[in-house]
């Protein structure tokens, strides 16, 4: 089981799911139509490190964060 967190303005509570790669996470998140637009322009972190590869293998207890467009300052 992994945990998916939605940061900043997405405003959605964390969800838990079974997934062996980020590809699985993508498929499951896209079942929620309200997330599709966010996924288009959100970056992804695994256990607080930014990632850029869908094939990364996940293990039990991993934490995936969805980071929508930013604007500091």
């Amino acid at each position: 089981m992994i945990r998916v967190e939605f940061l900043g303005p997405i405003g959605k509570a964390p969800i838990f799911m079974e997934a062996s790669t980020l590809k699985d996470v993508s498929i499951k998140l896209k079942e929620d139509k309200s997330l599709i637009e966010w996924l288009e322009n959100s970056a992804v972190a695994l256990n607080d490190s930014m990632v850029d590869n869908l094939d990364i293998e996940l293990k039990d207890g991993d934490r995936v964060s969805i980071l929508p467009p930013v604007c500091g300052g």
């Binding site: 970056a43 607080d48 990632v51 467009p69």
Partner: protein, 144 residues
Amino acid sequence: MELSQGELDVKEIFGRWLDEEATSNYGAYIPFIGTIRAEDNIEALSFDIYEPILKEWFNQWQERAKERGAVVKMAHAIGDVPIHSSSYVSAVFSPKRRVALELIDEFVEDFKANAPIWKYDVIDGERIYAKDRSTAMNGAGLLK
């Protein structure tokens, strides 16, 4: 890196940073102050920050600065910050001016593009995500 609730005390921060590096033998100290402008009827801006990734982002910048003999510092506000006050300050110290001038440009621009901070306009007490002014981070769209 310093995060605090509400508007920043700019004079205190820059004075303290100056004291911290007073005998470090840096020839240049370039401060940057981000001030909230009155526009579009906003009464304040408001910020969410994801601290673990912001720390990692900032640590990478400290390493890059160190390779050039320089130091970067920053402070950012969390929550509501009223117009005409400051939500973000940063600074570069370096032995000579050229490195500091270049670094403050690169550091502030990358901050705008990749620091995990979300901005909201506050209008009539309501918080509205500043979607049009926000930038997708490097690697965005991975799960689309």
